[in-house]
C-alpha cells in the first residue's frame, strides 16, 4: 500500500484502473447474465425441438404397434371358439408389421379344455423367418409374466417394462439371440366381459435406442430413456442398460436433486432440470413417451451449452486485461507528464525549505490548476522572502533591545552595593544583600552606607515590573542616597523622597520602602516603614518573628504632603534582621501555592546561627525549591543584617 501512497501517479492510476475494472465487471456481468439467459432459452428450445422430433417418430411406431394390436383384437374376440385360428392371427400381425418382433395371443389356464393348462399362440421373427408355436409350458408359465398379468390386473391396454428377451433356436447349430424388447399388451374379454386372455406384441428397442441416441444437440450431450420404474433402457453407458435405474445412485447416498428429476420423469412430467451428472453440471430436458409411461431425456453438459458464450467471455476478459495493461501504461505516462510541474515544484520547495528563498521558479507556461498553483506558490515565495527580510530586521532590533536591557540590568545592579563583605574593616557588622529581578530589569532596590558612625539602609519595591519600574527604582535609589547622606532621620528621609517622587509622577507609580538608621555605637535603630513588608527578627533564644511595626506609613510617591512617622528600637545588637520584598513570601510554585509567611519563619528558625550571607543563600535555595521550576512571578530582594 505504501507503494501507492508515496506516488500520486501510482495512486491515481490505481484508482482509475479500479474504477474502470469495476465498471467493466458490472457491465460484463450484466451482459453475460442476459446472454446466458438467452442462450439457455435457445438451448431449451433447441433441445425440446429435437426431442419432440424424435419422440414424434417414436410415437408413430408405438401408435402403429398399438393400432396393429387393437386391429387384431376384434378378430381374436370373434373367433374365441377356434383356438387354432390364434396362430394365424399372431402370425398375421407379425407378417403385416415388419417392425414387430413377435406376438403372443395367450389365454387363461384351461380356457380351451382340449388345450390344457397352457395355450399361448406365439409368432416371432427368428433369423428373418417367422416362427409360430404354442409357447406356454412348465418352463415358461406365461400367465406369471408381466405382459400377461399387467393387462389382466389393469384391465386395460398397457406397455410392459422393457425386458431382455432370449430367443433360443436350433438350426444345425444351437443359437441364442438376446435383445431388449417392450410389449404392448391388451386384455381379451369374452362377450360377457370376462377376462379370458391377452394379446402382447413385442417391439425391439434397438431401433428406438438408435433413434433417440441420434439426438445430439451438443457434442457431449446424450440421450437416455427410462421406463416406468426408472430403469435405463437407452443410455450411452451399456453397463447401465436395464441394470440400473435413475434412482440407483440414491440407494446409498441421498441425492434429492436426482430423486426429484427421476420422480418427475416416471410421473410422466415434461420439463428441464439443472443437476450434477457424474460430477458435471448438466441441463436435463425430459418428456414422456406416448402412453408408455416411459420418459426420454437429453442430458446436455452446461459447458457445452455455454461453450460459445464462455469462449466469448474469455476473449472479452483477455481483451480487457490487455486493454487495461495498455491503459495503465498510457495513463501512467499522461499523469506523469501532467504532474511533472508538481514534481519540479516539490523539488523547488525542497530548495526553498533549505534556505534558498530567492531561488526563482521556472515558468511552466500553463494556465490550468497547476499553473495557478505555480503562480500562488511564486507569490507565497515572494511573501516569504519579504517576511523573512522583516524578520531579520525585527530580530536585529530585538537583539539590540535585549542587549540594551542587559546593559540596563548591569547598570541597575551596579546601582546597589554588590561587594561583600560590605564593610570589611568593621567586624561588628555582618550585612549581606542580593537582588534578583524577575525580568531583565526589576523594580526592587536596596542600599546601605555608613555616615557618621551610623548605618543608613533601605529596601524597596516599586509598583509594576520591567523597564518603567527599574527607572523608578533608579530614581528612588538616587534620591535615597542623596537625602540620607544629609543625616536625616528615616521619617524625614521618607518624607523628602515622597515629596520628590510625587512631583511630576504622571505614571502614578509608587514604591514601598523600609528605611533604617542604626547607631553603630549603641545599637539603636530608627526606622520608617513606608508600606513595606515587616522585617523578620530573630532574637537569640527566641523564635523568628515579624518585627512589630506600630506606624505603617503609605508607600512613597502616591501623593505629596503625606506625614511619615518613624519608630525606634533601643538596641538591636545580637539580633538577626531580615529585610525582604514580596518576591520572597509570595513566591509561587506550579500549583500557585505561595511560599508564605509561616514557611518563611520556619526557615529562619533553622538559620539561627548562620551568617547573613549563608542565611540569604539558604533562603534563595528554599524559594528555588518551593518554585519547583515555576518562573519567578516577582523580583526578589533580600537584605540580612546582624550587629555584634
Amino acid at each position: 500500500m505504501q507503494f501507492f501512497r508515496v506516488s500520486l501517479t501510482r495512486s491515481l492510476t490505481l484508482f482509475v484502473a479500479l474504477m474502470a475494472t469495476a465498471v467493466f465487471l458490472v457491465a460484463l456481468a450484466f451482459m453475460f447474465a442476459q446472454s446466458r439467459h438467452a442462450v439457455r432459452q435457445e438451448a431449451m428450445s433447441n433441445a425440446n425441438q429435437l426431442l419432440d422430433n424424435s419422440l414424434q417418430r417414436i410415437n408413430a411406431i408405438l401408435e402403429r404397434t398399438e393400432a396393429a394390436t387393437n386391429n387384431t383384437l376384434w378378430l381374436v374376440k370373434r373367433h374365441l371358439d377356434t383356438p387354432d385360428s390364434m396362430f394365424v392371427y399372431s402370425r398375421g400381425i407379425v407378417e403385416s408389421n415388419p417392425f414387430l418382433n413377435g406376438c403372443s395371443i395367450a389365454f387363461e389356464p384351461y380356457y380351451f379344455e382340449d388345450k390344457g393348462l397352457y395355450f399361448s399362440a406365439y409368432s416371432g421373427m427368428s433369423e428373418d423367418k417367422i416362427e409360430t408355436r404354442q409357447e406356454g409350458n412348465d418352463e415358461y408359465v406365461y400367465f406369471y409374466m408381466d405382459w400377461y398379468a399387467l393387462s389382466k390386473l389393469l384391465d386395460h391396454a398397457a406397455w410392459t417394462e422393457p425386458y431382455i428377451n432370449i430367443d433360443t433356436y436350433e438350426d444345425n447349430v444351437k443359437k441364442e439371440e438376446v435383445y431388449t424388447i417392450v410389449s404392448y399388451c391388451v386384455p381379451i374379454k369374452d362377450p360377457e366381459g370376462n377376462f379370458v386372455g391377452a394379446i402382447a406384441t413385442d417391439l425391439s428397442l434397438d431401433w428406438l435406442s438408435n433413434t433417440i441416441s441420434a439426438v445430439k444437440p451438443y457434442p457431449n450431450s446424450y440421450s437416455v430413456m427410462i421406463s416406468r420404474n426408472g430403469t435405463f433402457f437407452v443410455h450411452p453407458d451399456p453397463s447401465k442398460l436395464l441394470y440400473e435405474s435413475i434412482f440407483t445412485e440414491t440407494l446409498e447416498k441421498d441425492d434429492p436433486e436426482r430423486m426429484e428429476i427421476g420422480l418427475a420423469m416416471v410421473n410422466g412430467e415434461e420439463g428441464v432440470h439443472k443437476a450434477k451428472v457424474d460430477g458435471e453440471h448438466c441441463y436435463i430436458f425430459y418428456k414422456p413417451i406416448g402412453n408408455t409411461g416411459f420418459s426420454a431425456a437429453i442430458v446436455c453438459p452446461e459447458k457445452d451449452i455455454f461453450s460459445n458464450l464462455n469462449r466469448l467471455r474469455n476473449s472479452v476478459i483477455a481483451i480487457f486485461l490487455a486493454g487495461m495493461l495498455l491503459m495503465l501504461f498510457i495513463l501512467d505516462r499522461i499523469i506523469r507528464r501532467q504532474l511533472k510541474p508538481l514534481k519540479s515544484l516539490a523539488a523547488q520547495t525542497e530548495t526553498i525549505a533549505a534556505g534558498e528563498f530567492d531561488k526563482s521558479l521556472p515558468n511552466v507556461g500553463r494556465v490550468d490548476e497547476i499553473g495557478r498553483l505555480y503562480q500562488s506558490f511564486s507569490n507565497m515565495q515572494q511573501s516569504l522572502v519579504n517576511y523573512i527580510e522583516e524578520m531579520k530586521i525585527t530580530t536585529a532590533a530585538n537583539a539590540s533591545m535585549e542587549n540594551e536591557l542587559k546593559v540596563a540590568s548591569n547598570i541597575q545592579m551596579s546601582m546597589v552595593p554588590r561587594i561583600f563583605p560590605a564593610f570589611p574593616e568593621r567586624e561588628d557588622i555582618d550585612l549581606y544583600a542580593c537582588m534578583t529581578p524577575a525580568k531583565d530589569v526589576g523594580g526592587d532596590l536596596y542600599d546601605f552606607f555608613i555616615e557618621n558612625e551610623c548605618l543608613y539602609f533601605c529596601i524597596g519595591d516599586v509598583s509594576g515590573k520591567g523597564v518603567p519600574a527599574s527607572l523608578f527604582m533608579a530614581v528612588t535609589r538616587n534620591i535615597f542616597r542623596i537625602i540620607a547622606q544629609q543625616s536625616y532621620s528615616p521619617e524625614i528621609i521618607a518624607s523628602k523622597i515622597n515629596h520628590t517622587l510625587s512631583a511630576d509622577n504622571d505614571q502614578e507609580m509608587f514604591v514601598t520602602m523600609f528605611i533604617g538608621q542604626i547607631d553603630l555605637a549603641s545599637g539603636k535603630m530608627d526606622f520608617c516603614n513606608c508600606g513595606h513588608n515587616p522585617p523578620v527578627v530573630h532574637i537569640p533564644g527566641r523564635s523568628a518573628a515579624f518585627l512589630p511595626v506600630k506606624n505603617v506609613n503609605a508607600p512613597l510617591g502616591i501623593m505629596d504632603s503625606l506625614c511619615f512617622k518613624g519608630e525606634t528600637i533601643a538596641d538591636i545588637r545580637g539580633w538577626q534582621i531580615l529585610f525582604y520584598t514580596d518576591g520572597l513570601n509570595e513566591a509561587e510554585n506550579p500549583d500557585f501555592e505561595l511560599f508564605g509567611n509561616d514557611r518563611l519563619l520556619a526557615t529562619m528558625d533553622r538559620l539561627e546561627n548562620c551568617s547573613s550571607a549563608e542565611t540569604i543563600k539558604k533562603l534563595q535555595e528554599a524559594v528555588e525549591k518551593h518554585r519547583a521550576g515555576a518562573a519567578p512571578s516577582d523580583d526578589l530582594t533580600l537584605l540580612c543584617l546582624k550587629l555584634k
Binding site: 408381466d146 390386473l153 441394470y243 434412482f247 440414491t250 427421476g262
Partner: protein, 318 residues
Amino acid sequence: MKLRNINRISTAVLCCLFFAGSAAFAQKITFTPQWTAQAQFAGYYVAQEMGFYKEAGIEVDIVHPTITQTAYNLIRSGQSQLTTIQLCQAMELINDGVPLVNVLQTSMNNALVIVSKEDKNPLEQKGIRVGTWSSGFDQIAICMALKERLDYQWFRVASCINLFVAGAFDATLAMSYNEYYLLKQSGVKLTDKNVYRFCDHDYNVQEDGVYTTRSYYETHKDEVHRFAEASKRGWEWAAEHPEETLDIVMKYVKKDNIATNRTLQKLMLEEILRLQVDRESGQREFRLKPEMVKLANRLMLDNQILLNEVTYEQLTAH
C-alpha cells in the same frame, strides 16, 4: 387353485431331487441355489472361489437355474444334489412326502416384508390385491393375512416389482435383501408406515438353508458335512471381507448376465449378512433353532398350510 399348483410343482422338483440323489454316487457335488446369481448366495461363491470346497476335499459345481434350465430341470436330470430352500417351504415339501434334510442353516431371521403404496399401511387395507412370487416363499405372509383377517387377494407372478410400480397391485411381498431395494430403485418411497416387516411382529421364522434328500444324505454324509462346513467358512469369510466378496458376487452376476448392479448387490450382501446374525445371541450360529420349527409349525398348522406337524428331527440330519 394356484397355490396348489405351485405346491405340486415344488413337490415334483424335490421328488426328482430325491431320486436323483439316491442314484448319485459320484464325488462331484452340484449345488443349485434357488435363484439366479446374486449376493444371497455369496458364501457359496466365496467357498468356491477361495478354494474352501477343494480344501474340504469335495468338488462343487454351482449351477444356477435359468429360464430353460430351471432348478427343477437340473434336479430332474440328476445334475444337482444340494439346493437352498426356505424353512417353511421345506416343511411344506416334507409334509407333501418329500424327505428333505437341512444340512446347513444360514438364515437366522425372516426377510419377508409387505410393501403397500405410499402412506398406506398394508395391515389397514382389507381385500387389497397383493402380489407374490410364483415360486412361493409366502407361507408366513399367508398365515399373517389369515390370522389378521385381511382377506388379501393374492396374485402370483414371476416378478412383482414392475406390476406394483405400474399400479396393478395395491401391495406386494418383497424380500428385505432383494425386492425391497428394487422397489427403492424404482423410486418407491419406503417408510415405516407402508412397509410391514414380519420379523418384527412374531413371525421371525428362519429362512434360507441348504437341503438335500435324506437318501442322498444317508449315502453321502461325509461329503454333505464337508460341503456344509466349507460353505459356513465361505459365509464367515464373506462377513469379514465384504468388498472382496462383492467382487466375487459381481463376477458370477456378470457371467450370467443378470440385470442388476453393484449397488444392489452390496445392499443385498449387507442385509443377508445381517439376517444371519441371531437376535438373541448376536452370533452367526448356522443352526436351525427348534423353537423356530415349532413357530413355523404352529403358524402353518393353524392356517392349514400344513396338515401334519413336521418335527425338528424330521428336518435335521441325525
